[in-house]
Every structure is written in C-alpha cells, then in structure tokens.
C-alpha cells in the first residue's frame, strides 16, 4: 500500500521530468503575469510596509527582492511580503471549484528562492505550474467542507503547493519531496475570521514562507510521518470531514486543475462581475453618463445579497457594491483599482448614477449572466445581455484583456511600457536562462539592483 504523501510526491516529481503540455504551460504563463501584476499593484500598501518594517526590526540580510519595491530582505520576509501583495484586493486568480487563489503564494516562493537557487526560466515555470497544481489537488480532495467550515483554503492548502515549488527549485529527490509535503502539512495557516483585514492576504504570504521552511527542513533530513495525510490526527481528516484522495493523487498528467484557474477582470467579488461587464458594454454605446435616466440590472439573486450596498462610502464598501461597479463603468469606461479608491467612490457623478441604478434579482438568471437596461433622458432605451461574464470559465479573459488589467496594475507604479516588457519576459520564460531580467523589471528603478 502506498502512502498518500509518497504517491503525491511521486506523481508530481514524475510530471516535473517531462515538458508541460502546451495548454498547461499557456495557463501557467497567464497565471504568472496576472499575479506579477497584482503583486506589483499592491506593493505600496501599508501592509507591505508593516512586513518590511518587521524584517528591519529583526535585522535580516538583504537576500531577496519584493516585486515593486527596492528593499531587499531575507527569504522569509520576501515570501511574506510578495504573497501578501499578490493576494491583496482579491484581484489575483481563482480556482472556482475550491476558491483557492493559487498563484500569489507560489510567486512568493519563486521570488524568495530565486536569488539562491537561480532556476532557469523553464524550471521556474515548471515549479510554478506544479506548485499551483499540487495545492489545487489537495484543495479538491477536502472540498467543499473544509472551506465551508471556515478555513481559508488559499493558506491551508497553499502551504503544501509552496513546499512543492520550493522542493523543485531546491532539486529535492522524490524521497525528500515526500518529506517536504509531509512537513508542510503541519504548517497550515488561515482562518476566514480574518477576512476583511490585512490578515487575509497574509495567509498566502505565510503559506509561502512555511512551504520554503518545510522544503529546507526536508533537504536537511527532517522526516514527517509517512501517513500524515490519511491518518487520524493527520492533515486531511483534521481539516475536513469529507476527504477523497483520488482527487489528490488520481490521473496525474491527465487531469490538470490549473486549467480551471480564472482571472478577475475587476477588483471586487466575482458575483458583481456580470453587472460590471454589462456596464462596460453599455458605456460603449453611451457617450455621457449624465444622459442616463435610470438603469435596471436583472441579475442572479446573490448579487443583491452579497454585493447589494447601494451607496458605498469608501473603497472597501464599494467592493461590496455591484451598483458602484456599474456606475463607475459608465462614468469612467474602465473598472480597475482606481475606481475603488476612496476619493473616487464618493464623487458626485458616480454617487448620482448609483442612486438611479436598481438591482432586480431574478432566479432565472445565471450567476455569470446579467441583463442590463438603461433608460435615457431622451426616452430611448439601451440594452445589453451578458451571457457569460468576462473572466468566467465559459468566457475566460482573452490574453489582450488580461494585459489590459495587468497594465493598469503595473504601469502606474513602474512606468509606461513596463507591463508589456514583463509580459514579453513571461512569454519567453521557457527559454530564459534565469529570472534576472524578470525580477529586474519588477523593481522600481531602471537599472537592475540584483546582487
């Protein structure tokens, strides 16, 4: 009988010995550029300052970068800050079946370990893809009970994927990789009580540093119990009452959970996305939002339930207001982080348009669907039907749409054209000799400050 941890590590290690299938490699590159964008976009957040301030208090060595920042910190705090920024604003990727945001913690491992392990681009992309895939597989094996109960699955499963990424970067043997995932299983992090605070995005950051520690300990010969996943008092049965190890270890190389990863076009809960998408479509046909008399959105009932705030007072509240997203779409013809800044949310134009917008819940409308109708002051009516919102599984973001999002995240901080340069590097990652260019472009100064 094979132990779950050993079978898991063997399956992943075998996958790492051959090239990724083309469609998996493509999705890995899309996840990669997306999370590079979100981590840079949030790099000036006070939470990143707090993490870097803590590193300074402890006098750590300047070993590894943090995307978007010029400071260098040790491996631990590089992982913490990068994973935190990547997941801030919930603007990163989402694997819909598990609600895992896999890429932030995995980019954090790569960022923290790249200076010491110097992976080729191909190796980094492999470690990235398998780190995402492995945590998603752990996630599906204990879903949905694990998340429903209140665990933040992005951290609790992410830590195991992070150990895999770190293990591949450190060239662990299959036996060492088995120990690494077993050690990581005891380092889970993340309770949903912390949602709405900086601690939520801390979870993938800490998953990354814990995963690295697990892989390093395994490299030094530390052992974990062979049956740590399946035993009573082990990981899986302690974390969930519903466990299916076939979903963790079955069909390696045939079933790729990474292919079900999605990217958010807008920085708010996914439930509001069809409405915002509808607003953007109407904005193509309505030159001036002042000409609108009233807007009605026929939508899934979850929209008013979860995103029903009619008049948000700040950016955080606006993230729970589908109506704000629609009003901002019609006023600004674009919806990015700028539309959720506190000052933008309270301006007169969006406030007035929000007051003229109504949500009409309808159980016959699907979750990724919306019917939007604007009655104009001249009596005419402009309508649009969003069958599947952009960013949904049925209508994934196109590469161009993904780049539109990433550009809005990166260029305002690092300068015009930087997002395109980074995208070109990620596109060519499989042939890159190392990650030096990538991380140099993630830093605020033109010249590389890579040691």
């Amino acid at each position: 009988m094979s132990f779950v941890a050993a079978a898991f590590a063997q399956g992943l290690h075998a996958l790492a010995q051959r090239p990724l299938p083309a469609e998996v490699q493509r999705e890995a590159r899309r996840s990669f550029i997306n999370v590079v964008g979100t981590s840079i976009g949030a790099s000036l957040h006070p939470g990143v300052d707090a993490i870097l301030g803590t590193a300074k208090d402890l006098g750590v060595a300047p070993l590894a970068p943090v995307p978007g920042r010029s400071e260098r910190v040790d491996v631990h705090f590089s992982a913490l800050a990068t994973g935190f920024a990547g997941h801030l604003d919930d603007f990163d990727d989402t694997h819909l079946a598990t609600v895992i945001h896999p890429a932030a913690s995995i980019l954090a491992v790569l960022t923290a370990l790249a200076p010491q392990t110097k992976p080729s681009g191909a190796k980094a992309l492999m470690a990235f893809a398998l780190g995402c895939e492995s945590q998603l597989r752990v996630g599906v094996s204990i879903s949905p009970e694990h998340y429903d109960r209140g665990w933040h699955i992005t951290g609790t499963c992410g830590v195991i994927g992070c150990a895999v990424t770190a293990g591949l970067l450190l060239d662990l043997s299959v036996e060492q990789l088995t120990e690494a995932v077993g050690i990581a299983a005891s380092m889970f992090v993340g309770m949903r009580e912390a949602f709405g605070t900086m601690t939520k995005p801390y979870h993938p950051g800490k998953a990354a540093s814990n995963g690295i520690a697990a892989a390093r300990l395994a490299q030094q010969g530390q052992r974990a119990k062979q049956d740590i996943f399946e035993a009573q008092g082990g990981y899986s049965h302690s974390m969930s009452t519903k466990v299916d190890f076939d979903l963790m270890n079955g069909a390696f190389g045939e079933r790729w959970e990474l292919l079900f990863n999605t990217y958010k076009p807008f920085p708010c809960g996914i439930v509001a996305h069809p409405a915002i998408d509808g607003g953007l479509s109407l904005s193509q046909k309505i030159a001036n939002a002042n000409d609108i008399e009233a807007i009605t959105l026929r939508c899934h009932p979850l929209v008013p339930e979860l995103m029903g705030n009619p008049q948000p007072k700040d950016g955080l509240q606006a993230r729970f207001s589908a109506i704000h997203g629609v009003a901002a779409a019609l006023c600004d013809k674009v919806v990015g982080l700028a539309q959720y800044e506190d000052e933008r949310v309270i301006k007169a134009d969006v406030t007035a348009l929000r007051a003229r917008t109504t949500l009409a819940p309808d159980t016959s409308v699907n979750r990724d669907e919306v019917f939007i109708e604007a009655r104009m002051k001249d009596g005419s009516v402009v309508k649009h039907h969003v069958e599947h919102a952009r960013g949904s599984l049925a209508r994934p973001l196109t590469d161009d749409e993904l780049m539109d999002k990433v550009r809005l995240l990166i260029d305002p901080l690092l300068g015009d054209g930087r997002a395109a340069q980074l995208a070109a590097v990620v596109d060519g990652l499989a042939d890159a000799p190392n990650l030096d260019t990538l991380f140099a472009l993630c830093a605020p100064k033109k010249e590389s400050n890579h040691a």
């Binding site: 803590t54 402890l58 491996v75 005891s186 309770m191 912390a194 520690a213 030094q220 740590i228």
Partner: protein, 244 residues
Amino acid sequence: MHNPAAQSAISDALVKFATSPLEAAGAHAADAAAGALAQARASFAALDDAGKKVAALLEQQGSGPHDARVRAWVLGAALSTQRASSATPVLAAVIATGELLSSSEQEVAAAAAIGIEAAARILAAVDSDEFRVRWNVASSLGVLGAVLAVARLLKLDETRTRHALGIAATQAAGLAHNAGDSLAAIETGKAAADAIEAALMAKHGFTSAPASIDGRRGFAALMAYRFDAASITDGLGARWTSLG
C-alpha cells in the same frame, strides 16, 4: 458571506490582561515564571538535533543568529524535546524578545507569567479528546499565549495587541499525529517564532480579526469541539490557574 464579528469579550479580556499591570495575586506567577525561564535558558545551552536543524535552516534563509524570530524557533524546538506544553512557546518567545529589547528580568518574567496563564486558560476552554487527537496542544495554544507575552514586552496598546492576537490565532497549527517525533518540537518552536512575527507586525500597523478566538470562523470554531468562555474570563488576573 460571513461578516466577521466587530468585537469580542474574549479578545477584550485577554488583551486587557496582557496590557494591564500585574495584580498582587500575579506576583507568585511571575516568580514561578522566573524559575521556568532560568531552567529554559540552562537547557538551551545544549542544542538537540531538532534545534540544530532549525538553526541551520534559518541561517540558509538569510536570517542571522541574532534575529529574535529565529532564536525563538530554535529555542522553542530545543525546549520541546523534553516535555512541551502550551507554556513552551511562551518561554522561548519572551527569552528571545527580551534579548532583542533588552527588557528587564522583571518585565520578562511578568510577560511569561501572563502568556503562560492565557494559553492555559484558552486550553481549558477548548480542551477535549477531539482536540487532542487532532492538534499539537503545545504549538496551537502556545502561539496564543506567546503573542500576548511578546505584545506586552513591546508595550503595544490594546488595539495593536488585539491585532497581534488575531495574526497569531489564524496560524495556530501543528498536528497531533506528529507527537513524539522531532517534527512536533519544530512545530512548537515555530509557534514561538510566529508569535514574535505577529506582535512585531501589529506594532507596525498590521490588522487582523477582532474575534480571532471565539468568532464564527475563528480559532475555537475551526479547531475546538467545545468552547467554555468562562474558563478564559472568570477571575482573569486575580486567579492564576497555571499555578496549580
């Protein structure tokens, strides 16, 4: 969608306990803590295998030997090879933090006493066979006591202490199945390190859940199978359960 609780009587009580002057009844607890600290420092002189592995790990990461987070991890792992309890991460964390801040021996002993008492009381509130069969008691409870002790040494105000407690609670971890192995010692040492990180981040303005212990998606809801709030709050500060 779960809207986290805006406040919690449990957090308030623990935070007040950690930030207030010791009541007279606490003097004995501080004496007892001073004794435990002396013992802990003595046993740290000889590093065991788990302690050495952790020390090597952390040096590879660019964290120097004077990094308090690192020292707490190594010390906690070393202490755990004898007999770990929820007090172990507290002792490791206050020794390392006391060195970082050059705290007085009196301050360190008072912080240790408070952290040990808080962890013991939270354990009493959640203790059951179901809890012990799943989780490492020393690491999962110890991180909560340790963070309150470190917050006290850092002289954090009530708000920041509450955030520190939340950052620690969300990473309460460690699996019962590793009991008796060197990995359990590493888990327990890690709890001390995580507590120092949490308190320092809160000092810098990092935020967390107000009801991290007793909220609907918090520590007790996810890891415990019973929750007796009175075990935490009854006579807190006046009566010392950890002195028995």
